[in-house]
Each structure stands twice: as structure tokens, then as C-alpha cells.
């Protein structure tokens, strides 16, 4: 049996790898309180804020489905599709506290026919792709 592959994030520092309760990692401007995801760490993007200091903050792990769609065809590189390609849904989820919408693939083979705007979604981890050494993990959304 081949040794277990290492689970590594598909992108470094955007989310925690806590399998049971993963969280997206954003930043918050210390001057005006605005949230950023992916992280903003240099200059605040609020046009009336001169802030340059940010704290890293975990984002809400649940939110309301804003809209959704799917990929029926294999996206081009640099997407690393499995063979054969398995279609998957993509969700746009509204986080109440942060007042922002965050995209993510929908986990577990849940298709558009099982989704509707307004429903509660939660953040989970899932495999994005694998190579010989690693399993690359990504955040995904799953209906509650």
C-alpha cells in the first residue's frame, strides 16, 4: 500500500486546515474595521481610510447562499481536473457579520438542483487535486 499522502493547502494562508471546523482567514483594518478576503495587508481599500495596520481574523464559517452555478465542462489549466472530469457546483455565499460574498466550490457532489438562494451553507474542506506526493486541500461550501 502506498504511504498516505500529505494534506497540504492548495493555497497558503487563506484558510485553516482544521478538518472539523475550518475557517477562512481574512484581515480587518485596525482603523476602520473593514474586512478583506483574500487578506489585505498593506493599504486599506476604504477610500476614506488611511489605515495601514491589519489584524488577521477568521471569517464566519456559515452564510446565506447568494447564488450558485456549476461547471459541466472541464475548466482550462491552471485548473487541475481529475480524469475523468466530474462536474461540480460553485456557490457564492453571503457572510452576515463581514457583509461580503465569498465564492467556493460546493462539496460532496451536491448539484444545483439541491440548492436555492437564501439557504444556509457551511465551510468544509475538500480535495482540489492530487499529485504523487500530496493531496491539495481547498475550502468548499456545503448546504447545512
Amino acid at each position: 500500500m502506498a504511504p498516505a499522502k500529505a494534506r497540504v493547502p492548495a493555497v497558503e494562508g487563506w484558510f485553516t486546515l482544521d478538518a472539523k471546523a475550518p475557517q477562512l482567514l481574512g484581515t480587518r483594518c485596525k482603523a476602520c474595521g473593514t474586512y478583506f478576503f483574500p487578506k489585505e495587508t498593506s493599504f486599506c481599500r476604504n477610500p476614506r481610510c488611511a489605515g495601514t495596520e491589519f489584524e488577521e481574523v477568521p471569517l464566519s464559517t456559515r452564510g446565506k447562499l447568494w447564488s450558485f452555478t456549476d461547471n459541466r465542462y472541464q475548466p482550462p489549466l491552471p485548473y487541475r481536473a481529475g480524469d475523468p472530469f466530474v462536474p461540480y457546483a460553485v456557490a457564492a455565499v453571503e457572510l452576515e457579520r463581514e457583509k461580503m460574498v465569498v465564492l467556493g466550490q460546493v462539496a460532496g457532489g451536491v448539484g444545483c438542483d439541491q440548492l436555492h438562494a437564501g439557504q444556509q451553507m457551511e465551510l468544509v474542506l475538500g480535495t482540489l487535486y492530487e499529485d504523487d506526493a500530496n493531496e491539495y486541500v481547498m475550502w468548499k461550501w456545503r448546504p447545512l
Binding site: 447568494w66 447564488s67 475548466p75 457583509k99
Partner: protein, 395 residues
């Protein structure tokens, strides 16, 4: 001081999948526009070229590439890029130079040669580029974003895939007799709804293709134009607005919207602000519009634009479509050219081709797709997440 410039000449290279060098389409369109204007290339004082990102270095200096192919004439030049708003930006640069009195005669030209299939990020592993990241981490193609907007219309306004198909049917009729259109086929609702789903709820025939093509306009000062034409079409306004923070609509190629914590959401959302800025510049309202050319990357997105440019209230676009208001013969036809549905996207040429169509319409030269008595035309689109693009033409 008048803020008008004249559109003295327009020209296009037909859209298709010709597979030749983009410069050739640009030169073809430029020569056609110069002939239409009755202006010699050697009399052009300024060239604004719309850049293409998919044709190597000549594409990044498109103004010079096309000027070189036309034969160096010593004109001043600019090459500009703003994704799908590239053409409007090139038009605006030329317009500003004319209004500033820096030149009288400008050629604006854009052309593209596109690869087949989904647009992919340009080559190389660029791990901090959001455009690379969205493909790598989400597989978020452009139709993914179009699909999100389309589904949102269905969920909040009760739009149906049948409405989306109706947009395609309408535009296929409009573009059927357009000599510059790529797709000249009359579609039925059933044919659209039987085409394969790409990104639910959008089907292959709901989504615009990528095309080769070229478009050019000759812009001049009103004084120059009056010596050559009795009633030239005028550009009365150009809008290249950016969003106001926070933009709470998810935009290509982003992973998330701005946060509305701490800053109040602006009264006018970005897409509504694009045409509005042009209306305000010209002192014209949406009720004055005789026809509109809008960026129908998807059929559903055309419906969004009806609301964004003020043809109706949010949620009423389907009714406007069903009532025939936006069909040729209706009160405010949209995409009389056939739109992207009949053309496909040739990015740097697209906004310029919209102005070509408005000009033919306002001159009464649009043949079978003529909008009767057209006097005010608006063209609108958006370059990715931050480039607004609207042009108002009047006669």
C-alpha cells in the same frame, strides 16, 4: 464649450474565426473607416489603439502595430487596455485630445485574434494573480460568473431559462442580416433550450463565443466635421467610471466582494453608475434612448443591462423583453446589431464596434436592422471588475 466630437467615419472587419493576425483586421477596419470619413490616412493626427492580451507583444502596443501596418505617418499614438472596456477607453482618449484642441482628426482602432474555447489566464504560473488563482483554485471560468448572475435573476425576480432563450432568439433575428456578424442563423426557443448546459442555468447558446474581428472609427472636432458632413453623428458622452467602495456584487476575477462593514453601500451600484455617468454628461435620460447596444456576454446579462441602463426598474427586464420593447420594431430595441450573441467577443474591438453600429443606425444606414427614426444611441459594457464603459451617440 461643446463636449461633442464627430464620428466622421466607421468601419469593421467581419467577426469570425479567421485565424489571421489581428493587425490585418485592424488595418481592414481602419481603411474602411477612413474611406467612410473621406479622410486620408496621412491626415490622421492621432491614433488610439485598443490592446489585445492574447497576441504577444504586438498586441500590447496595438496602436503602433496597426499604424505601422497602415504605413508610418508620424501621427501621435496611444495604446490602451481596459479588458472589455478597452475600446471605450481608446475612444475617450481620442475624444479628450480633440476636445482639448490637441488634434482635429483621430483614428480609434481595435482588433483581436482569439483562441478557441474558454478564455484562460495568460501563460505562466502567477500564484499571486487573482486571474490565475480563480482558475487554479476554483475552476472559475467566465461562464461561472455569468451563471451566478443568471441564477440570481431567477431566484430574486423569477426569470426563467425560457426568458434567457428568448434573448438569443431576438438577437439572432437582429443579427441575421448584419454583414459583419459571425453567426447568421435564426434560432428557436427550443433550439436554445436543447443546447448543452455549460454553467447552470446557462446553455451553450446563452453564452457568447470568442471571435476574431476588428473595428475602427474616425473621430474629429465638430469644426472639422462640419466642412465635410451636413449632420454628422456626434459622441455626446463617454463614461469610463470605476466602482464606488464597497462594490457588493461579485466580479470577475475576484473570490469575494468588498465588505460593507464600516462603509455604507453606495446608492448607485457600479453597473447602474456606468450609463448614468454618460447620461449626466450629455444631459440625456434613458427615456430619450432610441436604441441600446449592451454587452450580452450571456443572454441573462442582457436582461440585467436593461435595468442597469435605466430602460426599466429592477425586476422588470423580462416583461420588457416579453412585451417586445427591446425587439426591432419595439420602442427601445436592444442589440439591433445582433449583439455578442451574433458576433462573439473580440475584446479590444467590441466597444468600438458598438459605436459603429450606433453610427450606422443614427445615419439611417443599417438596412434591414434599421431602428426607425433613431436619434440617440447608448452603448454600454464593463471591463472585468473595474472598468466602466458607456458611449452616448446622438444625431
Amino acid at each position: 464649450m461643446s463636449k461633442d466630437v464627430a464620428v466622421l467615419g466607421v468601419g469593421m472587419h467581419p467577426w469570425g474565426k479567421w485565424g489571421r493576425n489581428f493587425v490585418e483586421y485592424g488595418v481592414h477596419a481602419a481603411r474602411a473607416a477612413l474611406a467612410d470619413a473621406g479622410v486620408a490616412w496621412t491626415d490622421v493626427q492621432f491614433v488610439a489603439g485598443g490592446d489585445t492580451m492574447r497576441n504577444g507583444y504586438p498586441g500590447y502596443v496595438a496602436g503602433a502595430s496597426i499604424a505601422q501596418a497602415l504605413g508610418w505617418n508620424g501621427a501621435q499614438v496611444a495604446s490602451t487596455y481596459g479588458a472589455c472596456a478597452t475600446g471605450a477607453q481608446a475612444i475617450d482618449v481620442a475624444r479628450a485630445r480633440i476636445l482639448a484642441g490637441l488634434c482635429d482628426v483621430a483614428l480609434v482602432v481595435g482588433a483581436d485574434t482569439t483562441p478557441k474555447g474558454f478564455f484562460a489566464p495568460v501563460g505562466g504560473e502567477r500564484k499571486t494573480d487573482p486571474d490565475w488563482q480563480r482558475f487554479h483554485l476554483l475552476g472559475a471560468t467566465n461562464p461561472i460568473y455569468f451563471g451566478l448572475y443568471a441564477r440570481r435573476r431567477m431566484e430574486i425576480y423569477g426569470a426563467s431559462p425560457r426568458d434567457f432563450a428568448q434573448v438569443k432568439v431576438k438577437n439572432s433575428r437582429h443579427g441575421f442580416a448584419n454583414p459583419n456578424a459571425r453567426y447568421k442563423k435564426l434560432y428557436t426557443i427550443e433550439e436554445v433550450m436543447e443546447s448543452p448546459i455549460v454553467s447552470d442555468p446557462l446553455r451553450l447558446l446563452d453564452i457568447c463565443a470568442t471571435s476574431d474581428g476588428g473595428a475602427a472609427v474616425v473621430l474629429t472636432s465638430m469644426e472639422f466635421a462640419r466642412k465635410r458632413a451636413t449632420k454628422p453623428v456626434r459622441v455626446a458622452a463617454v463614461s469610463t467610471v470605476t466602482p464606488r467602495y464597497p462594490n457588493t456584487v461579485i466580479e470577475m476575477p475576484n473570490f469575494a466582494t468588498d465588505s460593507a462593514v464600516g462603509v455604507q453601500v453606495p446608492d448607485v451600484p457600479f453597473r447602474d453608475s456606468i450609463a448614468r455617468a454618460a447620461y449626466e454628461q450629455a444631459g440625456i435620460g434613458p427615456e430619450d434612448v432610441s436604441l441600446a447596444e449592451v454587452y450580452d456576454l450571456s443572454t441573462a446579462l442582457e436582461l440585467d443591462w436593461y435595468e442597469n441602463i435605466g430602460l426599466c426598474k429592477p425586476g422588470d427586464a423580462e416583461k420588457l423583453l416579453r412585451d417586445g420593447v427591446t425587439t426591432l420594431g419595439g420602442k427601445q430595441p436592444v442589440n439591433a446589431s445582433g449583439g455578442l450573441g451574433c458576433f462573439g467577443e473580440a475584446i479590444p474591438a467590441q466597444a468600438i464596434s458598438q459605436l459603429c453600429e450606433l453610427t450606422w443606425q443614427l445615419r439611417g444606414q443599417a438596412g434591414e436592422r434599421q431602428v426607425a427614426g433613431a436619434s440617440v444611441g447608448v452603448a454600454v459594457n464593463q471591463g472585468l471588475f473595474g472598468h466602466g464603459s458607456a458611449v452616448l451617440a446622438v444625431v
